[in-house]
Symmetry: D2
Amino acid sequence: MPDFVAANPEYRRWIETVFARQAFMRLIGARLVSIEPGACTIAVDHTADLEQQNGVIHGGVIGALADNAAGAAGGTLQPEGTATVTAEYKINFLAPAIGERIEARGRVLRAGRSLVVCQSEVYARREGRETLSAVALVTLTPSALKGSA
Amino acid sequence: MPDFVAANPEYRRWIETVFARQAFMRLIGARLVSIEPGACTIAVDHTADLEQQNGVIHGGVIGALADNAAGAAGGTLQPEGTATVTAEYKINFLAPAIGERIEARGRVLRAGRSLVVCQSEVYARREGRETLSAVALVTLTPSALKGSA
Amino acid sequence: MPDFVAANPEYRRWIETVFARQAFMRLIGARLVSIEPGACTIAVDHTADLEQQNGVIHGGVIGALADNAAGAAGGTLQPEGTATVTAEYKINFLAPAIGERIEARGRVLRAGRSLVVCQSEVYARREGRETLSAVALVTLTPSALKGSA
Amino acid sequence: MPDFVAANPEYRRWIETVFARQAFMRLIGARLVSIEPGACTIAVDHTADLEQQNGVIHGGVIGALADNAAGAAGGTLQPEGTATVTAEYKINFLAPAIGERIEARGRVLRAGRSLVVCQSEVYARREGRETLSAVALVTLTPSALKGSA
């Protein structure tokens, strides 16, 4: 895994700003857990609102977290005012997301000028034990945040 | 595109039953628009809750709809008591989902015994005009609904 | 499916030029079958060299054809001197590729400036009857052909 | 990364047997480099036959190696007589595969009864230095080898 340096010294604040503007992340109760250059972790607690038909967290939530963790990881390497948008992603579900808390960890595999490729892993934490629930590959493109100076 | 016959004559009611049990679909305001053998359409109206940082519908919502439309399309071909779970999916975002209403149309490409492969297309409808916003390939596995007789 | 116009009036000759420079396509016996603006079909005949362990065409051949048909489809919309390279693709195998001839048909779903998204379908033709063997989503980036003026 | 135990004590010989029956692997000059429970590495040397239009190894070769390394990794956990077939895969190309030798390393992420999910990484080795060239997620299904007792 490569080491990245954030060109923007305020990358943490910048990612928090972009994240705070994502109403959908608020709707599902997602929060930023950690932000490092080229890496980001996002989590939700298990709530009834997020369930699918069998009482586990809906794949749509897992997918959104995996995508967003990757997007934020990629965003840490962008200049101020530039966020990322997702060009595409692919996710494999490995085990039902059973647990009090679901955590998506995104990290940059390659940061190109026009394309940023990330991998996300989603873990379900249950009574202190983690299970790898999903893995995703995500392709991002840098994109100016609307209304950014 | 192949023609499919639903083995379960009550496939519409069955899909509605499974869908109604998905709390997350309720949270995002998703509703079933049409259900045919091997095909299903799901829609949401644009609400502020579903937005990302630039005011368009969040990719996580688009992904969840694409996945769910495929899952329901696959479910129409299952026997009573059997739904589908998603093994994996891949989605390409083609254009920002701008419009009053977002519609995901899933259809089965191949229905095997242990794997069902579907394609979903997500359209944004704006003032009566539709734009293809995303396309997804989805692999499902049949799975008994918990608590089903 | 959108209608495309090729900016380069010599798009057919241009695609043939790029294709002829791909030694690997020669190795597997691939040939261009048709080239239209935003669409391209590539075929191979079944030969023993292309088989996997059970005597059907190897998935690696199917993947290469799906990828290349998409790349050539995207290339038809590029200016002279610019080809495409593949950023990523995803392929679902729907049925074993059994038949005298395997044909991959790529078409452009969206042609952006920095990203071109295509879909490919791979058919196996056996005694005049076609079976859909695989479907792929392919993301391309335009790229100057090395040595092009 | 999980530790796997091969149920079949002859898993190495078994993978070699399946691999030797893949004519296409022979065509591209692929060879098995290492076989461990849940992991497998396959390599090719750079030859002119494997090139695309710009003189680097064709993506079709990279994709085939990534797929096959995953398939062999999954095969190590199958009983004698059972190989794997690929249900789908997705590959991201991170850097051109420039070097004397290309190596694909597959490993199992999750081995279910009906689905096996693997990840492959493809490295280009040039003058002793390795570059990560591609990363893939691969979904396999166990399948009896034709003609196996």
